[in-house]
Symmetry: C2
Subunit: 218 residues, 2 copies
């Protein structure tokens, strides 16, 4: 490709920023038929184009959209929701009023799974588990943004006992489930993150995210 072919127009650049800005963690889905195969494949291909440490590509996806699987997974998430409410103490009652997943209503339900460690050393000798998780998370973020651009919502459900979920999904030894991804047409895209709209918690200004550089080497 020439340099010009590598460049993004202003409109293209704005579209990327727009997807980043409007992407939401969605829990309210419009019950819909499964996505067309071509569309789901596009989304998974976007996930698979993520960076990964040492090119290890540790992400795996399992499609769990049939009703029988949803019914099997709902109680696992519900059990963890109750444990979460208990751990939250006095905020537990408020928490229980929030919708935290859309397992039954989403068009597609996927598990994102970390493959058994393949022994990759490049870039992860000192941070082996962390860099595998990070690579898988980059894949999920790609999927999220691609979905948003296709006017589909996604929710990353991480309320489950990972050992129990691995057992139910019959994951190979060493595999770890990172999330249940609810994906599909939505009632609406929240204008703000749902936890902010409901008053649970607020976003902080960018400035709070910037750490001062220690002065001693300046």
């Amino acid at each position: 490709m020439t340099d010009a072919q590598h460049r993004f127009t202003d409109a293209e650049r704005d579209a990327v920023y727009r997807a980043i800005e409007l992407r939401r963690d969605v829990r309210h889905f419009t019950p819909s038929p499964p996505l067309p195969d071509g569309q789901l494949e596009r989304l998974l291909q976007a996930a698979h184009q993520a960076p990964s440490v040492g090119l290890m590509q540790p992400w795996r996806f399992m499609r769990l959209s049939v009703p029988a699987w949803r019914e099997r997974l709902v109680p696992l998430v519900e059990a963890e929701r109750l444990r979460t409410a208990e751990a939250l103490g006095e905020r537990g009652a408020t928490f229980m009023q929030l919708k935290v997943e859309g397992l039954r209503d989403c068009a597609e339900l996927l598990a994102v799974v970390l493959a058994p460690d393949d022994g990759t050393v490049f870039g992860r000798r000192s941070l082996p588990r962390e860099m595998a998780w990070c690579s898988a998370a980059c894949a999920v973020q790609n999927l999220w943004l691609a979905a948003r651009a296709e006017h589909l919502g996604m929710g990353w459900v991480s309320m489950f006992d990972p050992v129990e979920l691995a057992r139910v999904l019959r994951l190979p030894t060493g595999s770890e489930p990172l999330g249940l991804l609810c994906l599909g047409p939505v009632d609406r895209f929240y204008d703000q993150p749902m936890l902010e709209e409901t008053g649970w918690r607020h976003r902080r200004p960018l400035n709070d995210m910037l750490m001062e550089t220690p002065r001693d080497a300046d």
Copy 2:
């Protein structure tokens, strides 16, 4: 916003997919002055728009672009590069010929840091470290894609001893460095991942990433 305002045009959708497809982990930078503040702020704002479990927003960024800091960090990365080569055994010599970072040449050098655990329970009671790391990785992926749309390259360097790096950066107790991000104008965007171009490792087909669903609940 109305439903129409929430939709992406075909051209916008294609731009998002294009950024996802053309993003690369870059190690070859064109030495350049620091990015204009407005541009760096746009990129960091994109990172800060990432999803996070329980809206914990655990990502922090430290700007380390002054030459003195680069010189201080290069030996840390070099030490880990040598340890990696040793751990790689017979592939160590080949590894040593690869360029694994652009700390001295990139326009901007940032550390991405995980904030000390704030005790967020929502969505991470059973996966506390994993979900914090995954949230921060989503922020980095946003930054990566935004940079690509701005015709800037980025490389995520994870070759360092995290305890040593935390000490040098004087991170607060409980904080963990996730990466050194090299960011800026590039010589060229690789057509394939650099590790693939150099023959180190190859991408696998999407089909290899799809796990079969256990049949027992169908």
